[in-house]
């Protein structure tokens, strides 16, 4: 039990520790692909520490909700990210890491942030919030169908069970899993606000979503929100790696060496994911906001197809 608890705490701390690194890696690879030097991969840490040491400016009419939202959004995203098995299957919260609930927690975080965007009463906040909830509501059926496919394949919606099942040698290559992988990757891009759905690097663009919502934030509030955004990206990358490439995650009662291997492999997977994401982002243009339903609709169709194939035959 104590071992499980230690692993849970390790995983929780690891999540928040490497989240800015992942963002930094994506930016670095992107810069290199554009023939720029780009800032160091540790730049997001410096940005965060700068934001944390600056004073926080809040509008006169901001309510308690505006000031409380960053803490809640960060905490909820953190809880979700910490429950994805990254280095060990044997963690204390694995019974709670049930996929519907995990996505539910993220929905709670988004709900709070969308409300915070409306608190000051500016047009930018409204535009961001209204688009954010639109994208989220279209993504939700795709997410549920994805969970359904995974539940069909692995017989459980608990994340550790799914990862453990996929890691077992009996699984082999499955078309339904492949389709689900593509679907999840598309959902991840839409939900974590990456190109082509949203552009985290711009301000004052008519198509922006997340950045418009958090425009009024500054100082420590902004730091928490930036960290939450990084954690959300980490959540999706960890989720994809846990569900589709769970190899290397230490089994229950693992040795110290196994944990070290798991950790190294995890960082390697993050680096690969960052490189892939960066490559994808530089090779595609930002979409108009009303094209986003088509993009997410494609993801939904893919996971629906996966579910259908899986219902037709167990071997798909």
């Amino acid at each position: 039990m104590s071992g499980m608890l230690v692993m849970q705490i390790a995983q929780t701390v690891l999540a928040v520790a490497v989240a800015p690194l992942l963002t930094g890696m994506v930016r670095k690879v992107k810069a290199r692909l554009q023939y720029r030097t780009g800032p160091s991969v540790f730049q997001p840490y410096r940005d965060l520490s700068r934001l944390f040491t600056k004073e926080t400016v809040v509008a006169h009419n901001a309510s308690w909700l505006f000031c409380a939202a960053p803490t809640f959004v960060f905490a909820a995203t953190w809880v979700a990210a910490a429950q994805v098995p990254t280095i060990s299957f044997d963690v204390a919260l694995s019974p709670a890491a049930e996929l519907i609930a995990l996505f539910g927690i993220l929905t709670s975080a988004r709900f709070a942030l969308a409300l915070a965007g409306l608190d000051i009463g500016t047009s930018f906040g409204g535009i961001g919030s209204s688009r954010e909830v639109m994208i989220a509501s279209i993504a939700e059926p795709a997410i549920l169908m994805l969970i359904f496919v995974l539940a069909l394949v692995a017989g459980s919606t608990r994340l550790t069970d799914i990862a453990f099942f996929v890691a077992s040698p009996s699984v082999g290559l499955r078309i339904s899993l492949l389709l689900a992988f593509v679907g999840l990757a598309m959902i991840a891009i839409a939900e974590s606000g990456r190109i082509p759905v949203d552009n985290p690097a711009t301000h004052l663009e008519l198509t922006m979503v997340h950045e418009a919502m958090v425009l009024e934030y500054s100082g420590r509030h902004l730091a928490l929100i930036e960290l939450a955004a990084a954690l959300k990206l980490l959540f999706y990358v960890s989720l994809i790696s846990a569900v589709f490439v769970p190899w290397g995650i230490a089994p229950s009662g693992g040795t110290f060496v196994q944990y070290i291997i798991a950790m190294t492999l995890y960082l390697f997977k993050l680096a690969v994911a960052a490189a892939t994401l960066a490559f994808f982002e530089i090779s595609i243009a930002k979409m108009r906001v009303f094209r986003v339903p088509h993009f997410i609709g494609a993801a939904l169709m893919l996971v629906l197809l996966a579910a259908l194939l899986r219902l037709v035959s167990q071997s798909f």
């Binding site: 944390f52 509008a59 709900f111 608190d119 009463g121 509501s137 004052l204």
Partner: protein
């Protein structure tokens, strides 16, 4: 014994109604009537609590039709719904003690309110068709009287007309349903109906009549049309009762007939119920998104939640028909738990909306805004209710929707192909409607409580009174408790679920922190408590970090808005503009939403106009054609009014001859 006490409570409620009619508009009448109602509801709640685990309690009274009498009975299912009705009645009465003080015409509300409560209690405990239909009609009539209590507003009269028509339609359909169940022997007692199950054709007819008849009261699509008109028209505590509780009484009627009285049900009917539920859920929330009247938005959300409940019931029916009793028990528990949860948060939201209406004299969200600063307690109550209805963990709405989703996941083991394909798509539809509900409540809370006030009324609003706040916070507490300890309620529902699914559910010892598990042996588990503890721990850790390491200076300044702050609060996003992206995606096809922009030419100084038009497919497809037909026929028959006396005599003579001929052929 229990049923006798409950009936005594009902009798006292009816006496209170008479007393209120006599008391009229006297200043003390309101508090007295609502106080007595609260007390009687508390007694009913206690009876329901005792009734949940107890064997059925029966009584028959020598009232009504001479040879039949009236039978009343409280079994586990009735007890569950009695608890829902009386808990709702209790908090609504508490809320009304404060809220009712500002009522303009108390004499038009007070006599009907206790009678309405009594009617709902009677429907739930009725045990024969006569007692049931009488109570059902009584409940409809009393709620109608409450809908038209503010009859000086033209809109409310129209709402009353639509409502009374739809209520009559519902009863008109339930009447033959019971006639078919009673059979040619005319056995009106439910126990007799249970003993002689009808054959499969009759059963299908009864089930369809029950689905439409009870569904018209519950608000399934397309029979929901009266709901968003009538619920907002009533005073807010009555809206809460009608939307949160009376729709559940209709659900009870459906459950009583479909699960109890008709015997085995074909899986095809269950499939139809699932499909109807899915459509209702999605359309309900899309309608809600298009509203800018706060109470109407809430009424449409009732339609959505009724859809979710019917999906759960349909799943329970198909699982039961296919012998998967454990899965049936899960689906039935999910539906009943959602019935309970929805009655809580819907009442809560209507109370908060009522408090807002009283404070600002408007329900139009485009005239509100910024109320979180002047009505902080109401705002927090509404926020919790909004989070619960949007199915956000760790609150209760999520727990019951989680169970529905888990039941949907079990459907892949069903033998019928149609169901295996339909249920996952229904799951996707429910996920979409849950996410749209969250979007809708971002809009409702954001437009009403956040931002800058859009009118003077919103700016100068005052927090509502203490009893109203007490009633809201009782509901907040139960919502949170049911979210973090859902197992307590699942265990309480177990006897009723066993009644519906032939004893499929084991009653576990009651451990509040036990996580929810869909079926025995499943690894999927959900614990709201663990999530809440994790969230609190993470928030505490974050706060500690910020306290120790971050710069804690906060400076208040002007709005930033990228350097272009706009002083006029009317430039904020309104309820309509918040829904605009979703309107473009969904409503342009479904509701024929069209946006017309009238932009003056450069140099022209007249104002620009932007107009959104929408059509309601339910009205266009299901209500307007019959209404047109009736109008056409009326026009045809109209000339008969202006005939001469000779022609009238001729018509009478011809009719007589015709009837005699019919009689002759018949003999």
């Amino acid at each position: 014994m229990l049923v006798a006490v409950t009936l005594f409570g009902v009798a006292l409620l009816l006496a209170t109604a008479c007393f209120a009619a006599l008391a009229g508009a006297r200043p003390w009448a309101s508090a007295a009537v609502y106080g007595i109602c609260a007390l009687m509801s508390a007694i009913g709640l206690v009876c329901a609590g005792f009734g949940i685990g107890a064997p059925p309690s029966v009584i028959s009274l020598p009232l009504g039709l001479p040879t039949i009498g009236m039978h009343f009975r409280i079994d586990a299912l009735a007890a569950v719904f009695l608890a829902v009705v009386d808990l709702g009645g209790l908090v609504a009465s508490l809320f009304a003690i404060g809220y009712g003080r500002r009522e303009r015409d108390p004499q038009k509300v007070l006599p009907f309110y206790p009678a309405f409560l009594a009617g709902m209690n009677l429907v739930v405990i009725a045990d024969d068709a006569f007692a049931f239909l009488l109570s059902w009609e009584f409940m409809s009539l009393m709620s109608w009287a409450l809908v038209v209590s503010h009859g000086r507003i033209h809109e409310n009269l129209r709402a009353g007309l639509v409502y009374i028509l739809m209520a009559s339609l519902g009863t008109l359909l339930l009447l033959p349903a019971f006639a078919l169940l009673a059979g040619s022997a005319g056995q009106f007692a439910f126990s007799a109906m249970r003993a002689h199950g009808p054959n499969s054709t009759v059963a299908l007819a009864v089930l369809s009549l029950a689905l439409i008849g009870a569904g018209s009261k519950a608000g399934i699509f397309p029979l929901h049309a009266w709901l968003p008109l009538a619920h907002p028209a009533a005073p807010s505590h009555v809206s809460a009762l009608m939307s949160g509780i009376m729709t559940k009484v209709a659900v009870y009627v459906f459950i009583r007939i479909a699960f109890d009285l008709v015997g085995p049900v074909d899986w095809r009917f269950g499939m139809a119920v699932i499909a109807v539920g899915g459509i209702t859920a999605l359309l309900g929330v899309l309608y809600a998104l298009m509203q800018h009247d706060l109470k109407r938005l809430l009424a449409y959300h009732t339609v959505e939640n009724i859809g979710i409940i019917f999906v759960g019931l349909g799943l329970a029916l198909v699982f039961r028909a296919d012998g998967m009793l454990a899965a049936a028990a899960l689906a039935a528990s999910a539906a009943l738990f959602h019935v309970f949860n929805h009655s809580l948060f819907k009442s809560l939201l209507f109370f908060a909306a009522g408090a807002v209406q009283n404070a600002t004299n408007t329900r139009d969200m485009d005239k509100l805004g910024g109320l979180i600063r002047v009505m902080p307690k109401t705002a927090i109550a509404f926020l919790i209710g909004a989070a619960a209805i949007s199915a956000l963990p760790p609150l209760n709405g999520f727990a019951s929707e989680w169970m529905v989703f888990q039941a949907i996941f079990l459907s892949s083991n069903l033998p019928q192909w149609g169901l295996r394909l339909l249920t996952p798509s229904c799951g996707a539809v429910l996920a979409l409607s849950a996410a749209l509900a969250a979007a809708c409540f971002v809009k409702a809370f954001g437009a009403t409580f956040l931002g800058r006030p859009r009118s003077d009324e919103a700016k100068t609003a005052k927090e509502t009174d203490k009893t109203s706040i007490l009633a809201m916070y009782i509901l907040v507490a139960i919502c949170v408790f049911a979210g973090i300890a859902p197992f307590v309620f699942i265990a309480l529902l177990a006897p009723a679920v066993n009644l519906l699914t032939a004893g499929a559910m084991q009653v576990h010892p009651l451990i509040p922190w036990q996580p929810l598990v869909p079926v025995a042996g499943s690894h999927n588990s959900y614990s709201g408590l663990v999530i809440l503890v994790c969230l609190i721990a993470a928030i505490a850790a974050t706060a500690l970090f910020v306290h120790l390491f971050a710069n804690r200076i906060t400076r208040r300044s002007d709005i930033w808005d990228c350097g272009h702050p706009e002083d006029n609060p009317l430039t904020q996003y309104t309820a309509a503009s918040l829904a605009q992206p979703i309107r473009r995606v969904f409503a342009s096809v479904l509701f024929h939403a069209r946006e017309t922009v009238d932009m003056p030419a450069p140099g022209d100084t007249r104002a620009a106009h932007f107009c959104v038009t929408m059509r309601d497919p339910a009205w266009d497809k299901f209500y307007v054609p019959p209404a047109k037909l009736v109008g056409y026929l009326a026009d045809r028959i109209n000339p008969l009014q202006y005939l001469t006396i000779r022609r009238y005599l001729g018509i009478v003579f011809l009719t007589l001859v015709l009837l005699l001929m019919v009689l002759a052929i018949w003999e």
